[in-house]
Amino acid sequence: MTVERMNEMKEQTFTITAETGVHARPATLLVNKAGQFESEIEIGYNDKKVNLKSIMGVMSLGIPKGAQITVSADGSDEEAALAGVTEIIKEHLGE
């Protein structure tokens, strides 16, 4: 079941300012936050997109300082999901 719902998806772009990029610890924070929501949440960097609910997935992106990342959420609680993830990013990783 793949239903195109591009128009409804919420997306936001961030710049990573944290010195060490998105390594194990911040990845865990992000993933744990994302896991609290119903929506499908994805993180994209360098033309690659992964599920933000998988630690391995997020770490596989190897996001360094200065990276432009996009976070998208799609689902019933997409706005809350994006807000929650934004909060973690602002607090620990960038803007």
């Binding site: 079941m1 793949t2 060490t20 390594h23 194990a24 610890r25 865990t28 744990n32 896991g35 609290q36 929501f37 119903e38 994805e42 994209g44 690659k48 997109k49 992964v50 599920n51 998988s54 630690i55 391995m56 997935g57 770490m59 596989s60 992106l61 190897g62 360094p64 609680d77």
Partner: protein, 647 residues
């Protein structure tokens, strides 16, 4: 307590079925979405004998049941009438898909895991007959016999492999599917089918069926199940249902052997009693039908038999025509019936070539070459099951092209004058033994060229090779690979299996809770264990793929072949070292085996820089497992058992 009683109580304790918006399950848990979690009696559930514990997270109310959760889920769905809900949501797509597409999807899906083998053995078969045709080998030679066994063994016992993949697809126990298939292809039964007839049923009709044996007095109409595809799909489909029923009613203590015991005893005889006759009668009807059409109008017969030949082959009913073929050869010295199917494999490879040249999908491209080569020698299974059928349209196109080819053969009167090899090697059998090259021979050449070119061109223009919505598993997986999600990660959680993870380091065991970093100690990343390394060498703990190696080289992510996601995080806060004192021996995406050297690090230098070298080893997808057992040793060496993931 039965599953139904347990299900009833669980539903009641989560606040009644009115409180449930939806329910799903993973490996050990029922995952409810409740309208109001406050209405659930968490304490009573926690104390319930049938429930391990309750977790509330991610907006889900998770009731941890254990390994038998699928049975409980089934019962919960029945008790609560939840499935009706679920079906409503999916009804639209199911309807759209239609029976044909569903069937094709099932066949394509169960072939995916064995495609590489199909290609390999197909090529071996093809070259083997090429070598004979070139006169390099005699069919009586040991070399031929052995190569033939290698190439043909897999094809002959194909149902056993499909028994595994089909049973898995239907949610049953894969080995049970294999056991059913093994019974179907057992050599002694194949021998009996060719042996003495004890009676003949329906004699004088087209359903005339020789019977060689009876089962508890019921006559068994045997067919050849070797190399067949469809019978085992039906058998495993029903076996999975029967198995599930038994799972639910048989007490847990004796379940492990009673369930397969009864399932086998029911499904195998029923398959023999039901599938055998049906397939036999369909095959005979096809044989009689096609002969009748041929007498009436050869060109129509050519179109029908050419067009449907590959479909007959998939259903295993093509052999209804084989006796007619042998009879024709024996009586008339020539056969025009099977001759009309000759274009079919050329149409297949024409379509494969079309896919090969147009697909943007690397995996399909890789599969196309061996499929083409073996198809050239008449072994068309790799082309059908690996390429054209999953894509659907190229398969239909190749049937159309083959129908045109069949018509040409029928019109020009091409005939086979001896039984022989397949594919291009069969061409000489169209030469008339006395008259040599006849009009029919040219007709046959035109037919295969037309079928090939037509299938190729139509596939180029109408094959829909790069369509987005084709719902092809082969293609979908690969597309993910290329673009967004890494399939290894995406599917790991669903496919996670029990496995042993060995120690990547030499050193002293530190319980995770004592690792001096809250993120690890709290199990926020998942369950695992810490090691205080004695030396600076990290070797792979599993066979798998390097999912991530940080540019700072201090953390290695591995996805094992069995689906475990393992993070080896060398030292604490060592991200700050920015790669200093670390040497990586692998790159992201590398395939690794247990014991491969991954990273070296300088223990003393890292300590001197002020960072602990304690290395947490975490299974980051711990949620996919029922339990993860930790080693009891205080000291481990590389290769010692460290963690066991359990379903």
């Amino acid at each position: 307590m039965s599953y139904n009683e347990l299900a009833k109580e669980i539903i009641e304790l989560v606040g009644g079925k009115e409180n449930v918006s939806s329910v799903s399950h993973c490996i050990t848990r029922l995952r409810f979405h409740l309208k109001d979690e406050g209405k659930a009696n968490t304490e009573a559930l926690n104390n319930h004998d049938g429930v391990v514990t309750v977790r509330q997270s991610a907006g889900q109310y998770q009731v941890v049941i254990g390994n038998h959760v699928p049975n409980v889920y089934q019962a919960v769905v029945e008790e609560g009438g939840f499935e009706a809900q679920k079906q409503q949501n999916t009804e639209e797509t199911e309807e759209k898909k239609g029976l044909f597409n569903k069937f094709v999807d099932i066949i394509s899906n169960i072939f995916i895991p064995i495609l590489p083998l199909l290609m390999a053995t197909g090529i071996i078969k093809g070259f083997n007959s090429l070598f004979v045709a070139l006169g390099w080998m005699e069919t009586t030679s040991g070399t031929y016999q052995l190569l033939n066994a290698i190439g043909d063994g897999f094809f002959t016992f194909l149902p056993i492999f499909l028994g595994y993949t089909a049973m898995k697809k239907f949610g049953g126990t894969p080995f049970l599917g294999m056991a059913i298939a093994a019974a179907l292809v057992h050599p002694s039964l194949a021998g009996i089918a060719e042996g003495e007839t004890i009676k003949t049923l329906f004699s004088g009709t087209i359903f005339e069926s020789p019977v060689q044996i009876t089962f508890l007095g019921i006559p068994v109409i045997l067919m050849s199940y070797t190399s067949s595809v469809v019978p085992i799909i039906f058998a495993t489909f029903f076996a999975s249902k029967v198995e599930r029923k038994f799972q639910a009613i048989i007490p847990t203590v004796v379940k492990s052997f009673i369930v397969p015991f009864l399932t086998l005893l029911i499904i195998v005889p029923i398959t023999f009693l039901v599938i055998g006759p049906i397939a036999t009668w369909i095959a005979q009807s096809i044989g009689a039908g096609v002969s009748a059409i041929y007498d009436f109008a050869p060109i129509v017969a050519g179109i029908v038999i050419g067009g449907f030949w590959q479909v007959f082959v998939i259903f295993g009913v093509h052999w209804g025509l084989i006796p007619i073929y042998y009879n024709n050869l024996a009586v008339q010295g020539s056969d025009m019936l099977i001759a009309m199917t000759f274009a079919a494999s050329f149409a297949q490879i024409g379509a494969v070539l079309g896919v090969w040249l147009t697909t943007k999908n690397k995996k399909l491209k890789r599969l196309s070459f061996p499929a083409f080569i073996s198809g050239l020698f008449g072994v068309s299974e790799p082309a059908i099951y690996g390429i054209t059928l999953p894509l659907k349209r190229p398969f239909i196109i190749s049937c159309i092209a083959s129908a045109v080819g069949g018509a040409i053969i029928a019109v020009t009167g091409a005939a086979l004058y001896s039984a022989g090899p397949l594919g291009i090697l069969k061409i000489p059998t169209f030469i008339h033994p006395e008259q040599g090259i006849t009009t029919g021979f040219w007709g046959m050449l035109i037919s295969i060229v037309v079928a090939f070119v037509l299938a190729f061109v139509l596939t180029l223009f109408f094959g829909g090779v790069n369509r987005k919505d084709k719902g092809v598993t082969v293609v979908d997986e690969e597309n993910k690979d290329q673009t967004d999600e890494n399939p290894v990660i995406a599917h790991a959680t669903e496919t996670a299996q029990a496995e042993n993870i060995v120690s990547p380091l030499n050193g002293e065991i530190i319980p995770l809770a004592e690792v001096p970093d809250q993120v690890f100690a709290s199990e926020a990343m998942g369950k695992g264990i810490g090691i205080n390394p004695a030396d600076g060498q990290v070797k792979s703990p599993v066979n798998g793929i390097i999912t991530t190696i940080f540019n700072t080289k201090h953390a290695i992510g591995i996805t094992s072949d069995q689906g475990a996601e393992i993070l080896i995080h060398i030292g604490i806060d060592t991200v700050q070292l920015d790669g200093k004192h670390f040497t990586a021996h692998i790159n992201q995406g590398d395939q690794i085996k247990v014991g491969d050297l991954l990273v070296e690090f300088d223990v003393d230098a890292i300590k001197k820089a002020g960072y602990p070298v304690i290395t947490p080893i975490i299974v980051t997808n711990s949620n996919a497992y029922g339990d993860i057992e930790l080693t009891a040793s205080k000291q481990v060496n590389q290769g010692d058992l460290l963690l066991i993931t359990k379903k």
